[in-house]
């Protein structure tokens, strides 16, 4: 598939297989649905609203209750505690009350002895609605001032005057569609009632503490009566940050009512219809710039389709605003984020968390500027990169380290950008071929830290046993990103023992409490540091003990390679641990970490929301059939900054996987609703994520070799989300190919995803432009 896949050989020693790799390939890795079922176990399904906005006049469930194998049926009134399961703000009723606000909203829930019985039963309800007018697009929501939360702006300077006074101006708008997570394992929770009138929940969740809190809330229990356990997810991508909890809550209510174990697993189509996705955004932008393409002022309006409730949309639109600059200095600025309330499912976190939606506006703007001035888009990008003297972001944080000029120049060289640009220009002039090629090199600068400051903390629990084996728990969850592997590596390295001694087990709220979601790419940054803290404490206790026991200075003791060297003697690690135990040394510790240096005030837009930035750049080349809009991504080159890699194999996996997922969002994955607010891309038969065939045949990925200047875990950098946005290079390359039809004198306003049909539309616009010019 690829000519070369490279990684920096300096880090090869850190390469370890995913801790569950053998279990994955043998089918022994257990997911929630794989847990053996109890004989009396129940299964849940929900009855769904068929209207986007309606008042429920009558809900007749008698036929539902009468169905064979149905054990229990609940509506909102049956919820023992508070039925609002909004994760940050209220507004998400677990089951509908008087009014429904999206097609698919759960009206009631059924517990039956089998999933098929539950699914059959929910169809038997008789529901009378009074249909109300529905708001279905961000444009309509703006017209009606329909918002889930108020707008926010970053303002610097008198931007309107600056733009008006600029030598050149461009202006554009784009509709950027959302994205279905399509984690291969759908949403699922299993709830087992316990003897303390509480519940044990096994969930596929990125946020066990959120599940725990909300289950306690709906059951009106103190939090300590609810335990949540997450061993692994079959993919999360943000979709299981807030969206996992409602399933656990419904299962928990039934479990308490029936005193039976209850599983709620959503079949794929229900999952697609009933759970939130990446937000659609309608972006408008205007820029003023000089004859080198250097921006003097930018205004941007970013309007997000949030759906019916706030969910995580505050932070998501914040992050879109924080990344509306991508890597570029705007000088005078006004960036406004709108959180549009629509009668659609409440949109939620998805890898990138709004940032891709801000960045795509920035990248479209760069291409527009290049076309306006007849420059290579890469030169416009380079001219606008943050640099000394032009280093303060629209939100007041100063970029301290300018990595992108170096990353871009290295990538430009290794991928032969200039030469290929010339060859492509030549090809595109070439006679009567119906193919055109496009090329684009785009950067990514992604801010690392939760913008909600309190989430930037983590805890860990470490036990050293008397045989020298070590058990590690932390607050992060494993969704495939390799967090458990990286944390185990950190633990082994911190103690000076081999990886084989470390067991990382399921994340549980009764082992490590008050956890933050595994989100914002923060998993290894936060939990790695918390584990390091715990390991250091135990290591210090062991060394203190050994110094006293063997009567030597602490400096004369070292632990490396499973051996404890004390003066000239060498002992097995287990031997010293056993000895320490016999001498009553505490061999368990909790670790804690909070990210330093960060704070941000939205009212004054001052401070430092991000501890540091992860950077990268990608070059993509495409070939387009101008007769049909069909295309292929033929070559991709990536250079990405992961600091000092904790595990290059895992980081490569995140970069490649993130890129392909981003490419899917921008190419074949078209999230569509009909005019009544019904999701019509509601199954994998009509919502197309990339297959192996879509991956570029030449796919070169390299890690940029530089340690994080900030004190992160072993100087590594977060890697979960940033690479997704490298795929913007594919979208820009497609736009470049379309612009070539207009001799690069016109940049067709391309929306996303750039499906064949969208590319064809842009080709047609470019042809129309040429006809107008020729006339």
């Amino acid at each position: 598939m690829n000519d070369v896949t490279r990684w920096n050989t300096d880090n090869v020693e850190n390469i370890e297989a995913h801790e569950s790799a053998v279990k994955h390939v043998t089918g022994r890795a257990q997911y929630v649905d794989d847990i053996a079922e109890w004989p009396d176990q129940l299964h849940v399904a929900t009855g769904k609203s068929v209207h986007a906005h309606a008042r429920i006049l009558n809900l007749d469930l008698s036929a539902v209750r009468a169905c064979e194998d149905v054990i229990d049926v609940i509506t909102y009134d049956d919820i023992p505690g508070d039925g609002d399961v909004g994760t940050v703000y209220e507004g998400d009723p677990l089951l509908a009350t008087e009014v429904v606000e999206f097609v698919g909203q759960p009206l009631f829930a059924v517990a039956a002895t089998s999933l098929s019985a539950a699914k059959y039963a929910v169809e038997q309800a008789i529901v009378e609605y009074e249909v109300l007018e529905a708001v279905l697009t961000p444009q309509a929501a703006l017209d009606e001032s329909s918002f889930v939360l108020p707008e926010k702006s970053f303002v610097r300077g008198d931007v309107d005057a600056v733009i008006a006074g600029s030598p050149f101006r461009i202006k554009g708008e784009q509709y950027i569609r959302g994205q279905e997570h399509f984690y291969l394992e759908g949403q699922v929770s299993l709830c087992i009632p316990n003897e303390d009138d509480g519940v044990h929940v096994v969930s596929s969740s990125q946020h066990p503490t959120d599940v725990q809190k909300l289950v306690a809330k709906v059951l009106a229990l103190p939090i300590h009566q609810v335990q949540v356990e997450v061993r692994r997810m079959g993919g999360g991508f943000g979709g299981k940050e807030s969206q996992a909890a409602p399933l656990a809550c419904m299962a928990a209510i039934f479990a308490r009512r029936t005193n039976r174990p209850v599983k709620f697993r959503m079949p794929r189509q229900d999952d697609m219809i009933q759970t939130g996705k990446r937000h659609d955004f309608w972006n408008r932008y205007e820029a003023g710039f000089d004859n080198k393409g250097r921006i003097q002022g930018v205004t941007m309006d970013l309007a997000a389709l949030c759906g019916y409730s706030p969910d995580l949309s505050e932070g998501i639109v914040d992050r879109a605003m924080f990344h509306a600059d991508n890597s570029y200095y705007y000088d005078a600025t006004r960036i406004t984020g709108y959180r549009c309330k629509t009668h659609t499912v409440s949109n939620t976190a998805f890898r990138g968390f709004g940032a891709p939606k801000g960045m795509i506006a920035a990248e479209a703007m760069m291409d527009d500027i290049a076309v306006k001035l007849g420059l290579d888009p890469l030169d416009v990008r380079i001219a606008n990169l943050y640099q000394e003297g032009r280093a303060v972001t629209p939100y007041g944080q100063t970029i301290e380290q300018h990595m992108l000029p170096h990353i871009i120049s290295q990538l430009e060289r290794t991928c032969d950008y200039r030469q290929r640009r010339d060859e492509i220009a030549e090809f595109n002039k070439g006679g009567d071929s119906h193919f055109r090629k496009g090329l684009a090199l785009t950067p990514v600068k992604f801010g690392i830290s939760f913008t909600a400051k309190h989430l930037n903390q983590a805890s860990a629990l470490v036990h050293v046993y008397t045989d020298g084996s070590i058990h590690v728990n932390h607050g992060g969850t494993e969704m495939g990103q390799g967090l458990y592997t990286k944390v185990a590596q950190v633990a082994a390295r911190a103690m000076g023992v081999s990886l084989a001694r470390i067991q990382v087990s399921a994340t549980r709220t009764d082992k490590v409490p008050n956890t933050s979601p595994t989100a914002a790419s923060s998993g290894s940054d936060l939990n790695g540091m918390a584990v390091l803290d715990a390991m250091n404490q135990i290591r210090e206790r062991l060394i203190t003990f050994a110094a006293s026991h063997f009567d030597c200075a602490q400096e004369e003791i070292s632990i490396t390679d499973d051996k404890v060297r004390i003066k000239s003697e060498t002992y097995e690690f287990a031997e010293i641990v056993k000895l320490a135990y016999m001498n009553r040394v505490h061999l368990s510790a909790t670790g804690f970490y909070k990210t330093p240096k960060i704070s941000f005030d939205f009212d004054t837009t001052t401070g430092r929301p991000f501890f540091y930035f992860a950077n990268g750049a990608a070059t993509s080349e495409v070939i387009v059939d101008t007769r049909t809009g069909e295309y292929r991504v033929t070559r991709v080159d990536i250079l990405h900054d992961v600091g000092q890699s904790l595990n290059p194999a895992i980081d490569m996996g995140q970069i490649e996987g993130g890129f392909v997922q981003g490419m899917g969002w921008l190419t074949t994955e078209e999230l569509l609703w009909d005019g009544e607010g019904r999701l019509i891309s509601d199954s994998p038969a009509n919502y197309k994520i990339p297959t192996a065939y879509d991956v570029p045949r030449t796919f070169n990925v390299d890690l940029y070799d530089e340690a994080n200047r900030e004190e992160t875990i072993y100087r590594s950098k977060a890697v979960g989300e940033p690479p997704l946005m490298l795929a913007l290079s594919v979208w820009c390359a497609l736009r470049d190919a379309c612009a070539s039809i207009a001799d690069y004198r016109f940049s067709p306003p391309m929306n996303a995803p750039a499906t064949n049909e969208e590319v064809y539309r842009c080709i047609t616009l470019a042809k129309d432009f040429m006809e107008r010019v020729d006339d």
């Binding site: 598939m1 089918g27 033929t634 192996a692």
Partner: protein, 478 residues
Amino acid sequence: MEFVLNKERVQVLDIDADTTVLNLLRQRGLVGTKEGCASGDCGACTVMVGAVTSDGQIEYKIVNACITLAGSLAGTHVVTVEGLQNGGELHPAQRAMVEHHASQCGYCTPGFVMSLANLVEEQIESDQPAGNLCEIVTRGISGNLCRCTGYRPIVDAGISALNDTSSLSVCHDDARDFLQTYDHENDPADGSYHRPRCLEDLDRFVGAHGNQCLVAGATDFGLEITQRWTRFPMIIDISKVIEMREIGISDDEISIGASVSYSEVEQIFAERSYPFVHILHRLGSRQIRNTGTLGGNFANASPIADTPPVFIVWEATLELRNSKGQTREVSAEEFYVGYRETILASDEYIVRIVIPVACVDRFHRLYKHSKRIEDDISSVMGAFSIWGDDQNIGGIRISYGGMAAVPVRIREVEAMLMGAALNIELVEEACARLRTVMTPMTDVRASAGFRMDMAVEMLDRALREYMGEKLPRVDDLL
């Protein structure tokens, strides 16, 4: 019903007729096989099924357990991800997946492992040189979706597994004995799941129960169960009816039984029609093509089925038979009478499809448009067959799928081109005419306007290519 499940023989009695293989496996505690979509789109449920072919060979193929019916397993060897290891040793496909860091969340992994293991198995069975491994692997995993890795390490793992010379067949001695000695003729029906072996038997069932519960590969039917939660108390599995499994090739015609799978059809046309084989590669996935059948593609009467437009321009006929054993022949074109409606009487079924060799030998172009290249349903499917001499068009057939309620033939445009001397002006006129005779719809796959433009583009391209212009498609280039 009896089959071999991994290393052991199992007897399954008294299961519901509409039980899927996936549910059967998971109820037996084999939970390594996952449900990702329950619609045959993601491949997380992929398992290998070994059976004796008509020429006595044992052949393994991958299927989607989520929509394959358990009753179809009688007399087979089912291999799941739990059954691949040999005495504690990982199978080469498993080992390569670990070594190449090809799993992240792991949920799709068992399915990929099975698809790769099947490629290894095919390589063991085959005496042919392997060819381009990257292409073989990419094609071999076309029915498996991964959301984490971006596929590169999986493809690398597949290439590495195919280069591993230590590979052993999954077919152990006991499985071989079982497969070779299984008495299909006397294989009793399991309660309400019937597996007739000949047309006479089938006629009896159809006579008693009608044709609504006829199932071959279940690649569409299975979704009724898993997506619409319909229950089927009785199922008639026609995939073992010998006459419907027959392939007959003479100088004049190619006859393909209705229960012949797409994968087998690929082989029939491998040397006869590159365009058709190319279309078949884009029809469903390997798993779907292994079980889905031509008869099913017709009988489901979907307006977006890929093969009917092809058979319409190839002037194929369908042989139909009713429960009384009476047969009739209809042309592919007249088989459809309305949206999701066919000419079939309630006790009638398709026995075979007969294609004149002369029609296949004519110049033809088959174009499919879809959002994704692999495993996607057409937004427009165009089929064009043109014959005549250098100067004049002797005859032409044009058919489209996805443009109307049924696969349609465009007689108006055919008529204006018939006998004409083809030139660019005429091509443009034909395209303009096409616009006036079609009214496509807008849906999730494409807008009406785009469908129309693509239908016109296809006609234009086919005619230009007939005139000698070379207009490759983007996937022809790479």
